[in-house]
């Protein structure tokens, strides 16, 4: 193996492609060659580095120095100063003003442990980083029941929203004697402000595939579908490539490693519907129907895709599984809280100094996440509220920032944890305005199957529009709560049960604003 003095990790993501990273890389290579540094400095194209909204970003190892917003014309200076003379170019540093360096926190990463380090398009690098060891172990040294017990013991809970224990979910499907069972991966990420699954798939597609394989072995499924949104072009490309590489290496296919176990993994591209994040709606969509949710029970674990037993898991959930099998449930439980083990991936957006993604132990407070991982508020802005969990989330004021982020502590707000989206708003932004935007979203995304959601979402939108215009009364505000509560009690699926979260938290925490606007 070649030994390099330094590695330049270049994040390839939607953002950097947008900023012209494809032209940047060859120019950088040429410049390195000009100084005869090709043998000493390695360029590695990798997944998202953990901070964005900053154009082309690179991190240099072993120094662990990050540069952002690089332009073609910066290359000569960067190469001659940093790589030739060893002096980091301070003007180009990630945040030259405050010297803030993004906290990568690799020691506590599970899902993103390879992301931003290995080349996501190379199966060899994944294997070199310990990849597919867990799959080999699960297939050749463990019985399906042992795999399920290990996942159960780890306390892993679904990262899609509801937080249902993953091992328990698998036990519904595993004992059923059926000619065909399926694994379905929910990669139809649509919660506004959420894109952690995109980053997981872009940064380390093989880890998701390995999780799928282990789940398939555990429940006895021989076919897996990844249902992914059509907009995630780079993910689709990388997953297709990763699946092909696995087939070429015999990691999936027929009679894998001579074990007699068969598994095939395929992608299915969605066509744009928020409700398809609901597991039964997703199954309907896979079958070629409108994405209307189904009546439960029977649950998909018993009768799912084409009436066969089907396990539906979120991307992040499955990406945790290889670690659990490889290192054991005890190692996994070192992270997080006793009730909620493991880590959680968050995307932090809005008026913080450094929007980005981070993976941290369950139970970390919102205040720590915002201050330590996102560098606090953007200069000149004051914190007003955080929308946590996207449209189906809650709006929290400053005094609630010390709430611990785990399923148990968030209790009634538990569903908001899944998405991992944290949208920070400054003091000039209007809560009524953001609520209007959220309710417009629900009106658009209601699938129309059940009356409470179909009519309720429309009524909520009309009421909030009236209030936003300054024509509403406090009775309208009250009415909104009543409607949303009725929707919560009577809607067919989680979509219609969601608007109450944002409405109640907005009104409870920012009542003054509603009083002020209705008095106009």
């Amino acid at each position: 193996m070649k030994f390099y003095r330094s590695h330049i990790l270049i994040g390839i993501s939607e953002t950097s492609l947008n900023a012209g990273v494809q032209a940047f890389i060859p120019t950088l290579r040429q410049e390195l060659a000009k100084h005869e540094l090709t043998e000493e400095i390695n360029i590695l194209e990798t997944g998202p580095l953990g901070f964005f909204g900053k154009g082309i970003c690179v991190t240099v190892y072993p120094e662990n120095i990050s540069y952002s917003d690089l332009k073609l014309e910066d290359i000569p200076e960067l190469v001659s100063e940093h790589f030739l003379k060893g002096r980091p170019v301070s003007r180009l540093l990630f945040d030259s003003a405050t010297k803030f360096q993004p906290k990568f926190n690799y020691e506590s990463r599970i899902v993103l442990r390879n992301s931003g380090i290995i080349d996501p398009e190379s199966i060899d690098e994944y294997i070199g980083a310990g990849g597919y060891e867990a799959w080999e172990k699960a297939l050749t040294q463990m019985q399906p029941a042992e795999i399920i017990n290990e996942v159960k013991a780890s306390g892993l809970r679904g990262r899609g929203g509801a937080g249902f224990p993953t091992g328990v979910k698998w036990t519904f499907t595993a004992p059923i004697d059926a000619p065909q069972k399926y694994i379905v991966v929910n990669a139809d990420e649509g919660e506004p402000g959420t894109f952690k699954d995109r980053l997981i798939m872009e940064g380390d597609p093989h880890q998701l595939l390995e999780g799928i394989m282990i789940a398939a072995r555990a429940v006895g499924a021989t076919k897996a579908w990844i249902y992914i949104r059509g907009e995630y072009k780079l993910c689709i490309e990388r997953l297709r490539l990763a699946i092909k590489q696995c087939k070429d290496y015999g990691i999936i296919g027929e009679n894998i490693f001579g074990s007699g176990f068969d598994l095939d993994i395929d992608l299915k591209i969605g066509a744009g519907a928020y409700v398809c994040g609901e597991e039964t709606a997703l199954i309907e969509s896979l079958e070629g129907n409108r994405g209307n949710p189904r009546w439960k029970p029977p649950f998909p674990g018993v009768k799912g895709l084409w009436q066969c037993p089907t396990v539906v898991n979120n991307v992040e959930t499955l990406a945790n599984v290889p670690y659990i099998i490889q290192k054991g449930a005890e190692a996994f439980k070192q992270h997080g809280t006793p009730e909620c083990s493991g880590t959680k991936v968050y995307t932090i957006l809005g008026d913080v100094a450094h929007p980005g993604l981070c993976e941290i132990d369950m139970g970390t407070t919102l205040r720590t996440i915002i201050n330590e991982y996102a560098g606090g508020m953007k200069k000149g802005f004051k914190f007003k509220a955080a929308l946590v969990g996207g449209a189906a989330g809650v709006i929290l004021p400053d005094r609630l920032l010390d709430v611990k982020m785990d399923f148990a502590s968030l209790n009634q707000y538990a569903a908001v944890l899944g998405s991992g989206a944290i949208l920070v708003m400054n003091e000039h932004q209007s809560i009524v305005d953001i609520l209007w935007s959220i309710l417009r979203f629900f009106r658009h995304e209601s699938c129309g199957k059940c009356a409470p959601c179909r009519n309720g979402s429309q009524m909520l939108y009309q009421l909030i529009s009236k209030i936003k215009k300054g024509e509403g009364t406090m009775d309208d505000v009250e009415q909104m709560q009543i409607i949303a509560e009725t929707m919560f009690n009577t809607s067919f699926c989680a979509l219609g049960q969601s608007p109450i979260m944002a409405i109640r938290s907005a009104i409870e925490n920012f009542k003054d604003e509603f009083i002020a606007i209705t008095k106009k």
């Binding site: 299915k268 591209i269 969605g270 079958e287 129907n289 957006l349 932004q429 959220i438 417009r440």
Partner: protein, 151 residues
């Protein structure tokens, strides 16, 4: 054309979404015509009204002819608080069309969409397969002018 696309897929209902995607992508006007629906109905041996149901359910499909470049501006909360309404107003002025309409020269169709998952760069829009982020009114003008010049 329809025959060529359909025959790539087994005639089972679960391939409907794929077939619709491909027919729409290869049509110069990026839409699914009535004729196409009839053909698919026959090929998959399902009712045309089932196909219409599916077609109108998902936001990525259109039953109306559209322009060469489809602009999809995100209107979800993260983009909204970063000023997507101003971007929309600017696009209305630049293109001279309302939301959902196509320019007279058939170059652009303007649509709104839900979260594209690129919220780190809000406000965001997609034009065909390309994502454009950190939009300002000036940047939008630049982008549109550049695409117009590509003809």
């Amino acid at each position: 054309m329809y025959q060529e696309i359909c025959s790539k897929y087994a005639p089972t209902k679960d391939n409907l979404i794929y077939i619709l995607h491909e027919i729409q992508d290869t049509h110069p006007q990026h839409y699914i015509s009535e004729e196409a629906v009839d053909y698919i109905a026959q090929y998959l041996n399902i009712h045309a009204n089932h196909i219409y149901g599916v077609l109108t359910f998902y936001t990525m499909y259109s039953t109306k002819p559209r322009g060469k470049n489809i602009i999809r501006l995100c209107e979800s909360p993260p983009c909204y608080i970063k000023g997507s309404e101003n971007i929309l107003r600017k696009l209305h002025i630049l293109l001279g069309v309302e939301t959902g309409e196509t320019t007279k020269d058939g170059e652009f169709t303007l649509e709104l969409c839900a979260c594209l998952g690129v919220c780190g760069n809000a406000p965001v829009m997609m034009i065909n397969d390309d994502v454009y982020g950190d939009l300002t009114e000036e940047r939008v003008e630049e982008i549109i002018t550049k695409i117009r010049g590509r003809k």
